[in-house]
Symmetry: C2
Subunit: 427 residues, 2 copies
């Protein structure tokens, strides 16, 4: 049987676009043989004509004008690997309006504008696929959509940002400070010159908005997700975690119980024997729990040209085989669905470190305030004093976030307490 | 939009069939809402009418005659959870001939008879789905088929049998003997009264035949897979592994290099920091390596009514949404494809333990024979002697299986060597 010819355009031939192009050309014959699809990269949109031609694209195929792709009736699928909200968002809207299927790796765009793009895709019978937007080569979206249909998913825990996991792994295994580990990540190209999107947790929030919406079948807008990055994690926190039997990870957490949803991204003490604890360096993983399947974990490279390109091409193949496309089973929105509560409080164990005057009675005062707020102390690890000050570190039992926040506000005002140094939630 | 009504029949309402029925009834409304599919279990084939009715199936729906299902034009999808090759195989053939889509959890049947069933499915436009045949709730087949299309998969390593992993975990963590751990597994229902299918590696071989064929896009008949079970693994092997920095796992290994394929199931020393080393108890995992995606690992429960039921219902949903079904991109066969070599030799490091007279010169003799065969010793761990005998244990450097086998045959004939006690391959 003759393979089906499928013409593809790529918007942006940078790192990920380049990886995608490499797969479509280097593995072209294997894809013809195994999938019955004969892909041809007919157009590339890129301002840097030279880098595109250097990769082997014919100069005639390069354009700077999106309309050359929108109006080309021969093009079936368009891959968007420009990144950023604009102009990528307007380009995709135009393409969907013309009935073209779009495959994108753009987590920021889907995280922020999914609710605008999906109705356009639906209205024009076009496909909108974004496996590559979350966790690189790891097939987490396909798994949620095509393998977990039998389950109410109740929990989702993910290490879904490679940059922060690299930094935290370096701090843990080599005792580096946050600043040194960040610098190393920047030198290796794992972190941007302005690292905020990663280290402040924005990237993980966009991905969690997408993944938790799909897992729980309801809109979880990124604006409703609690976000805390890793910039305040110190070498001391890492050391204390280790002593207490934990490693520090930036976790994306989604939980559903009835109509109540928790969605949050923050550094977390993860017990060393937990499956996520051993996810090191640039690797990522997502652990799901369903009512029938129980725990499932998917692990792999969360970023990079080749793994992300693999996810894109998997979407291109998946899309190219379909005559009609599916859309989400809920109305994607920038507001939570009616009747659903996205909780602004939750319970956790907490690791707390504070600096206080090294004198009798301070710990008792601290414990009293915690107790008054309903927070009880589990393990105390009082550290060496430095001069007249001492660092007090402890783990609480499970307590509500609001109670802990209130207690710390009161503790901070105590005469002999100099500073609250750390507050990290524990799994 | 009204949900699409889909009538389902289940063959065999035992453990896994029961789990499937529970999902289709307990999660019925969620599946209507999220998938647009309204499943109705219209028929159950089972000789034990009472257990079926006790689960809540209407007595009128129970039958012992497969023709009641074959001839029922209202039935769209049939779930086979009887197990065993016959009569399941004949029933499935009849159902496929009548154009009905079949979803099965039967690894032995698919492992042995895939090449007979797939052509029937294809000839009649029926679907044949078997996600549940491999690794319970873990979506490994969907991932291979729908997420790895961009890649040449070059390696696949799996812990794909829950019973043996439970036994080996107990031996490792509690120091139990093989016999005691097996008895415990039998008492808990993890191992059969006749445990051979699991402990002798047959179950893992059927699964590896399926998974490696899909991964490498070529027929790998189960008869061509090297098989060695865990029955000869001793508490001493487990202890030595631990001292050397390994844990013992029953691994299913598939590797492809050009047209040469390795496919084997055997106990393996796995380095403690390898992602598969921490897969404990009844959990299973598969690690894949693709040329673009790099390493991907999927982890979850490898057996049980609920996880396996989850995989079955995921196939039922996947199948019910399709107007046409896909078939493998190679001719499934009970012989390897022309031009493909399924290797009967491979290279590995080896752990070897032997008992010899405790006298000078024996180790030198052993080392000489190994050297003559091209096998060099890496680490030696000579153990305490017992009476006049001593146990000698060592790791080799990478060597060919044939060379090691030949060397051991010669070593066994040495005057002062009493027995070769262990030979375990290392990852």
């Amino acid at each position: 049987m003759a393979a089906k010819k499928v013409n593809v355009a790529i918007l942006g031939l940078g790192t990920v676009g380049g990886g995608t192009y490499d797969i479509l050309t280097q593995n072209h014959d294997m894809i013809v043989r195994t999938q019955g699809l004969d892909f041809c990269v007919r157009r590339v949109l890129d301002r840097d004509r030279d880098r595109v031609v250097a990769r082997g694209v014919s100069p005639d195929a390069v354009t700077c004008n999106i309309d050359d792709i929108v109006n080309d009736k021969e093009i079936d699928v368009v891959v968007e690997t420009m990144g950023g909200v604009e102009p990528a968002g307007s380009f995709i809207a135009k393409l969907l309006e013309s009935g073209k299927t779009v495959v994108t790796a753009n987590k920021e765009l889907i995280g922020k504008c999914w609710h605008k793009l999906e109705p356009i895709a639906k209205a024009h019978g076009a496909g909108l696929y974004f496996e590559a937007s979350c966790v690189g080569g790891v097939p987490i979206i396909r798994t949620l959509n095509e393998s977990m249909q039998a389950n109410h998913i109740c929990e989702l825990y993910g290490i879904i940002n490679g940059t922060t996991n690299y930094i935290l792994t370096k701090m843990t295994e080599e005792g580096l400070s946050y600043e040194t580990a960040l610098r190393e990540a920047q030198q290796l190209g794992y972190a941007e010159f302005n690292p905020s999107a990663d280290v402040d947790g924005f990237d993980a929030v966009y991905k969690l908005a997408i993944l938790s919406s799909l897992a729980f079948h309801t809109s979880i807008p990124y604006t409703h997700i609690y976000r805390e990055g890793i910039t305040r994690i110190t070498a001391d926190d890492i050391k204390s975690a280790n002593e207490l039997g934990y490693v520090v990870k930036l976790l994306a957490i989604g939980r559903r119980e009835g109509n109540r949803i928790e969605a949050r991204v923050h550094p977390t003490f993860v017990p060393k024997d937990h499956p996520l604890a051993s996810v090191r360096g640039a690797f990522n993983a997502v652990l799901l729990t369903g009512d029938f399947v129980d725990d499932i974990m998917l692990y792999g490279r969360g970023a990079g040209a080749r793994p992300t390109g693999s996810a894109i091409v998997s979407d291109v193949v998946f899309a190219a085989k379909r005559k009609t496309h599916e859309y989400t089973d809920f109305a994607v929105s920038d507001k939570p669905d009616a009747g659903m509560e996205i909780a602004d409080d939750f319970t956790s164990k907490y690791y707390i470190a504070l600096t206080a005057c090294d004198r009798a009675g301070v710990l008792a005062q601290v414990a009293k305030i915690l107790g008054d707020c309903g927070v009880s102390i589990g393990t105390i690890l009082q550290k060496e004093g430095k001069g007249e000050h001492a660092t007090i570190t402890f783990l609480t039992h499970t307590a509500s976030e609001k109670a802990v926040t209130e207690a710390l506000a009161r503790i901070e005002k105590l005469e002999y307490v100099r500073s609250i140094d750390s507050l990290v939630r524990c799994l």
